[in-house]
C-alpha cells in the first residue's frame, strides 16, 4: 500500500467526509438502532418499552418458523446464485463465440438488469399465475399441475427463477469481460495440447475465470439475501404457508406487519451476523483456491 502524506491537515478528512457521512447515516445509525431495539420489548400499545436482555434472541432462535425461514433462505439463495451464475456463464461462453453482431447480442442480454425487482416479480407472476398466466396455462394443458399459490415448491421455483433471471445480465457482463481477459494464445496452446470442448473449458477456461466467479459468488449471495425482497413481496408475499419466507422477508413481516419490533430487530442483527460470517468465510476459504493472473 502506498502512503500518501497530505500537506494540509484538514483536507484528507474533508475528502473522506461524504463517504463517512453516508455510512454513518445509512448503516451505523440504523444498525445501532437495530441493536438497541433487539434488546427491548414494546408494550402492546407502543407506549413504553423495556429492557429484556437477550430474550428476543432466544425467542427467535427457538422459534420453529424462524428456523424454517433460515432453511428457505439457504435453499433460495443457493439456488438463485447457482442458477443465475450457471446460466450467465453458459450465455457468456456462447457470446464469446459469436463473431458477428456480438454487441447487439450483448445489449439484448443486459436489458433485464434495468428492470426493477418488483416489476420483474410482477412479470413472472403474470406469466405463471395459475389463473391467467400464459405459461401456467401451457404447463397445465400438458398435464403438469402448476400452482404456485398453493404449492410451496412451485412458489419457490417461481421466485428462484425470477430472482435469477434478473441477476443473469449482471453476471453475464462480468463473465464476458472475464472471458475476454483470457489470452487467446492460452486457448490455442490448449487446442494444440489436445484439449477440446468441455475438457478445455473445465481445465483451462474455468480456472482462469475463478477471480470473476468468486467475485460474483459474493455479490450474488448478498443479492439473494437482501435485494430479492421486492420479488418475493410481489410474487408470493412469503407464502404459501411461509414456504418462501426468507430471513429478510420475515424481518419485514414481523416488524412492519406484525409490529413485533423487538423480534424483528433481533432477526436483523442475526441476519447481519450471517452475511458478515458468510462473506468472511468466502474470502477466507474460497478465495484461497482462486488464482489471480
Amino acid at each position: 500500500m502506498q502512503r500518501v502524506v497530505f500537506p494540509n491537515k484538514i483536507l484528507p478528512y474533508v475528502l473522506v467526509a461524504p463517504q463517512i457521512v453516508l455510512t454513518i447515516v445509512f448503516f451505523f445509525w440504523p444498525a445501532s438502532q437495530a441493536l438497541y431495539q433487539s434488546v427491548m420489548r414494546e408494550d402492546p400499545f407502543g407506549l413504553k418499552s423495556g429492557f429484556v436482555g437477550l430474550a428476543n434472541f432466544s425467542a427467535v432462535l427457538s422459534d420453529e418458523s424462524y428456523l424454517n425461514s433460515l432453511k428457505v433462505t439457504v435453499i433460495f439463495s443457493a439456488s438463485t446464485a447457482l442458477l443465475s451464475m450457471g446460466l450467465a456463464l453458459l450465455l457468456a461462453t456462447a457470446a464469446d463465440r459469436v463473431v458477428r453482431g456480438q454487441t447487439f447480442y450483448r445489449t439484448l442480454l443486459i436489458w433485464p438488469y434495468a428492470v426493477a425487482p418488483a416489476v420483474a416479480g410482477m412479470l413472472w407472476l403474470f406469466m405463471f399465475n395459475p389463473a391467467m398466466g400464459t405459461f401456467a396455462y401451457i404447463l397445465r394443458r400438458n398435464g403438469f399441475y402448476w400452482d404456485p399459490l398453493l404449492n410451496g415448491n412451485h412458489a419457490m421455483v417461481l421466485i428462484v427463477v425470477a430472482a435469477a433471471w434478473k441477476q443473469i445480465s449482471y453476471n453475464f457482463l462480468f463473465f464476458v469481460a472475464g472471458l475476454q481477459a483470457i489470452p487467446k494464445s492460452l486457448i490455442e496452446a490448449a487446442a494444440i495440447d489436445g484439449a477440446r470442448g468441455t475438457r478445455r473449458f473445465w481445465t483451462i477456461v474455468f480456472p482462469l475465470l475463478a477471480p470473476t466467479t468468486f467475485f460474483l459468488l459474493v455479490v450474488n449471495t448478498v443479492y439473494a439475501f437482501f435485494d430479492t425482497f421486492g420479488i418475493i413481496h410481489s410474487v408470493t408475499g412469503g407464502g404459501p404457508a411461509k414456504a418462501t419466507e426468507t430471513l429478510v422477508y420475515k424481518v419485514y413481516n414481523d416488524g412492519f406487519v406484525n409490529l413485533n419490533l423487538g423480534s424483528s430487530a433481533a432477526q436483523s442483527v442475526i441476519l447481519m451476523a450471517i452475511v458478515v460470517a458468510l462473506t468472511a468465510f468466502q474470502f477466507r476459504f474460497v478465495e484461497r483456491r482462486v488464482h489471480y493472473g
Binding site: 489470452p183 494464445s185 490455442e188 496452446a189 487446442a191 489436445g194 475463478a210 488464482h291
Partner: protein
C-alpha cells in the same frame, strides 16, 4: 519426425485481404527452417496455418504424407512455442508439461519419465513445483520449450519465442534452441523478424514479403547471392547499399561490365565489402567519393555513414577505430566480385 509440404497455400481474410499469396515450400525431415520477414509479411499467419490455428483458403499443407488442411491442431501432432509462452498460469510447471500428455491418455509413468527427461535437459528441475508467475522470463521460456519437447511431436513450431527476452538471454537461448533441435532432430519451423536470429538458427531461410516467398536458401546463400533487392537489404546488418544507376554517374564509377549490362537498375554493395581506397587505380573496381556524415563505433569495427555527391547515402565498414572524422571526404572502393546487380523489378541479374 516428418516432412512438411506446402503447396500453393493461400490465405484471404474477409474476401479481399490477401495475407498469403500462394506459398509452396518443401521442408525436409529434421530440418530447421526459419521464416523471416518484416512485420505484416504473413510469416506468423503461415506458421499458424501449419499449426491449424488459422484456416487455409486454398492449397494443401501436408505433414509427413498426411494432408492436414482440415485437421484440428491437436490431430496434427505438432507442438508450438508462443511469443508470450502461453503457459497455463494456474498450473505448476510440472502440470504445464503434463497437460498435453494427459489429454492424450499417456500412461502416468510414461508422463513422469518424459517430464524428468525434459526437465533435466532444460535444467528446470528445480522449479517443477512452481507456478509460471514465480519464474523469470528465461525460465518461462525454458518451460515453454519443455512443454513442446515432452510431447515428442513430429514438428516444433516457434512463433518469435525469444522476442520477450533481453538481449543477452536471447543470444543464450538462441544457441540452446539450436543445440536442442540438433540433438532431437525434430523438424522445426521458426518465425522471427530478427534477421540475425534467422541467420544463426536456420538450416534454410525463407524470406517472406507481402505474403510471398522472396527467396529460400541457406543463410550463406541468401547473404552471398540474394535473389532480389528486398532480400539483399533485409539480410545483413547494416543493410546492403543500393545505388540507382541512371545513365552515367559522376560521383561514382563501377566496372563497365556491370553498369553497361542491359536492364541493370541498381547496384548493391554490402558495407563490409567497401574499403578505403589506397590510391591505386583499377578500372575494374567500384569507386566513389564519400562525404562522411556520422561514424558509429560498435566495438571491433566502425560503420561510417556518408553520402555521395548526388546525396545518395552509402554505409561502409572500417576495422577497428576509425580516424575518419565527420565532414571528411574519403575515397572508397569495392571489388567487382562483391557487387550485386538488380533489374528494375529488383531481381538479381
Amino acid at each position: 519426425m516428418a516432412t512438411i509440404t506446402l503447396k500453393d497455400v493461400q490465405k484471404t481474410y474477409g474476401g479481399n485481404v490477401d495475407a498469403i499469396r500462394g506459398v509452396s515450400l518443401a521442408i525436409a525431415d529434421g530440418e530447421f527452417i526459419v521464416l523471416v520477414g518484416p512485420s505484416g509479411c504473413g510469416k506468423s499467419t503461415l506458421l499458424r496455418m501449419i499449426a491449424g490455428l488459422e484456416s487455409i483458403t486454398s492449397g494443401d499443407i501436408a505433414i509427413g504424407d498426411r494432408v492436414v488442411n482440415t485437421l484440428e491442431p491437436s490431430e496434427r501432432d505438432i507442438a508450438m512455442v508462443f511469443q508470450n509462452y502461453a503457459l497455463y498460469p494456474h498450473m505448476t510447471v510440472r502440470q504445464n508439461l503434463a497437460y498435453g500428455l494427459k489429454n492424450r491418455n499417456t500412461p502416468k509413468d510414461e508422463i513422469e519419465r518424459r517430464i524428468a527427461k525434459a526437465a533435466k535437459s532444460l535444467e528446470i528441475e528445480a522449479f517443477l513445483e512452481r507456478k509460471p508467475r514465480q519464474l523469470s522470463g528465461g525460465q518461462r521460456q525454458r518451460v515453454a520449450m519443455g512443454r513442446a519437447i515432452v510431447r515428442e511431436p513430429v514438428a516444433f513450431l516457434f512463433d518469435e519465442p525469444l522476442s520477450n527476452l533481453d538481449a543477452k538471454l536471447r543470444v543464450q537461448m538462441r544457441v540452446e534452441i539450436k543445440q536442442l533441435q540438433r540433438t532431437l532432430g525434430t523438424t522445426s519451423v521458426y518465425v522471427t523478424h530478427d534477421q540475425l536470429e534467422a541467420m544463426t538458427l536456420a538450416d534454410r531461410l525463407v524470406v517472406l514479403n507481402g505474403g510471398r516467398i522472396e527467396q529460400v536458401g541457406t543463410p550463406i546463400e541468401l547473404y552471398e547471392r540474394p535473389a532480389t533487392s528486398f532480400v539483399a537489404t533485409f539480410i545483413g546488418s547494416p543493410s546492403m547499399n543500393l545505388l540507382e544507376i541512371k545513365g552515367g554517374s559522376s560521383d561514382w564509377s563501377a566496372p563497365p561490365a556491370f553498369v553497361n549490362q542491359p536492364g541493370t537498375a541498381s547496384l548493391g554493395i554490402r558495407p563490409e565489402d567497401i574499403g578505403l581506397a589506397d590510391g591505386s587505380t583499377d578500372n575494374n573496381h567500384f569507386r566513389a567519393r564519400v562525404r562522411v556524415g556520422a561514424v558509429e563505433l560498435v566495438g571491433a569495427e566502425s560503420y561510417v555513414h556518408g553520402s555521395l555527391a548526388s546525396g545518395a547515402p552509402l554505409v561502409f565498414r572500417v576495422a577497428g577505430r576509425s580516424r575518419i572524422g565527420i565532414d571528411d571526404e574519403v575515397e572508397v572502393f569495392a571489388r567487382p566480385e562483391s557487387l550485386h546487380g538488380f533489374d528494375a523489378a529488383g531481381r538479381r541479374l
